[in-house]
Symmetry: C2
DNA sequence: GGGAACTGTTGCGCGAAACGCATGGATAGA
DNA sequence: TCTATCCATGCGTTTCGCGCAACAGTTCCC
């Protein structure tokens, strides 16, 4: 026979009260039940825990040790279930969120900050990477969900429009085009162009925009980090085009932004949810927090706007 | 309904094996039993732990968290019972031993050392005090047992003779009596006598010995600590009489010991056991260790001899 | 394409476990 | 001595846990 939680609970109550009758009242069970439970426990352990004549109950040394240990076990049990309860309520655990570096650095920080303030036991894990890997993270289950652009419809994920941002021209401070209120892609394409590395969604979209304006994308230089591109522009090596959301990542001063038109190119960012899996409670709570920012029409950098809440796709 | 260890064990096995059938074989129960146990657990917790179609079993995020927690709880249970088992075997816990300072400092160290080497998880608590308080410690249950002299039979304790030691005269290095092979109490009584404090058992016995030799105890000075008395003798303030066991506590050099005769006074040290209470396992083991030293006739300071093992009184 | 082999679920009946009630023996206090 | 408690125990009932067997959905292979 093995030691059950029931026996330990019974023993702990009796040992603490130093009385079967009192403990029985406390636990809302009959006194005989406790008497048996403790006797069973003693038989199983093969040691006497309580010294009892018909009138008094005393702990044996072994009984004192057993009380200590029973309390430990019961506390572990109680704490474990409480943890699981908080997990279930989305107050504890981890949210794994795949996203683009720009989103992670600009859009999410206030959300994470508000989320953590409300649920201090939650951990937010940001898996930042390029568009391609972000989608894979969701499909593979590494991430609970993602916030990202999406090149093409992927099976197994649902898309919920979140924000869209506009491409701006990024120019050296005293560049001739900086005097315009707006700049066209065609005008921009005549300047030495500084592009972000091949794999990025930004690169994909600038290539497409130049093509649409009837020009060929022919970068003077490339860098994978947008901050690096910003630095190159500021140094006067050329011009670039970046979505509004990433501008906070570019060191300010010595360069200016102008809306790009002909065409206006917008980048759409989605919440990417796995279609099959149900979202863990913590992730659900994080999404609620994100929606709260959208509903409150929280301030976004210039050129970035919240999408209307609507149907998932 | 509450979460039982049985359910947690079942769930942990299934979640680890990712298979009800395999887990059933492992736990030697029927597969249907596990199916129910896990279903019950899920119902109680109000969350789905395993995603299962008829062919495959997968953990949900909540299931992964639950597995972690179930393992914690089960480990706490297992560890607790193991601790209690080791406690029961006397390999873990504490021995509380009341004793005289001289016994604690001279007789016990090798015993404690051997005991701890064999049972590293055991703690030995020495409650050292004067004869009177030592007895009380045992009667009150503060100590598991004691090693001490006993002025008079006390109710509720059993005595087991352990060692006896002889009173020696303690003399300054160049004192006239130091040239004798033996010294009588009467001779000693004619010198300025340096006594230990009133409450001690040593004082009680020297007083009695002088009385028996027809002299009055009339100390030139008193100190409670025998090392202090030794210092006074070495400084030439007078002579003293101390039981052989305490000599290692007296700083060596500048004083000499001579057997005291007429009468030879012996101090008897007993193991003092509570008659009622059963000894905790650790204490029993400590006593065994002590007996081992007696059986091996372990070397003792000159003038101290092991008592024969015999009946308890 | 149809069946064989496995998987987890569920209905059923049995046996054990746990419980409350009532009782008995023992003791402290009036 | 009597009474009020206290814990242990016998007894009957209810609940719980289990295995067996039938069932339903998948996968694999001939």
């Amino acid at each position: 026979m093995d030691v059950t939680l029931r026996q330990l609970t019974a023993y702990a109550a009796v040992a603490r009260a130093v009385s079967f009758t009192a403990a029985a009242a406390e636990l809302h069970v009959s006194q005989s039940s406790l008497s048996r439970a403790v006797a069973d426990l003693e038989r199983t352990l093969g040691m006497r825990l309580l010294e009892r004549d018909t009138r008094n109950v005393r702990l044996t040394p072994a009984g004192a040790e057993a009380l200590r240990i029973a309390d430990q076990i019961l506390a572990a049990h109680r704490a474990g279930l409480a943890q699981l309860g908080r997990y279930g309520a989305g107050e504890r655990g981890a949210v794994a969120l795949a996203t683009l570096p720009s989103v992670a650095a600009v859009l999410l920080p206030p959300v994470i900050s508000a989320f953590r303030a409300r649920r201090p036991e939650m951990t937010v894990r940001l898996l930042d990477g390029l568009e391609r890997s972000v989608l894979d993270r969701v499909v593979d289950g590494d991430a609970d969900f993602a916030v990202s652009t999406v090149a093409r419809r992927a099976p197994g994920v649902t898309l919920r429009p979140l924000v869209r941002d506009r491409f701006d021209a990024v120019l050296p401070e005293h560049h001739p085009l900086a005097e315009r209120a707006e700049v066209t892609w065609e005008e921009l394409g005549r300047e030495p162009f500084l592009a972000v590395g091949t794999d990025s969604s930004v690169r994909r979209m600038t290539d497409a925009a130049f093509a649409q304006a009837g020009m060929e994308a022919n970068p003077a230089a490339e860098a994978s980090n947008v901050a690096t591109v910003g630095g190159l522009v500021a140094a006067g090596l050329g011009v670039s085009a970046l979505p509004a959301l990433v501008h906070p990542l570019v060191v300010p001063g010595r360069l200016v932004r102008r809306p790009l038109v002909g065409p206006v190119v917008e980048r759409r960012l989605y919440v990417v949810l796995p279609t099959r899996r149900t979202l863990p409670p913590g992730a659900r709570r994080f999404l609620e927090q994100l929606e709260e920012f959208r509903s409150a029409a929280d301030a976004l950098p210039a050129g970035v706007v919240w999408e209307e809440a609507g149907e998932d796709r």
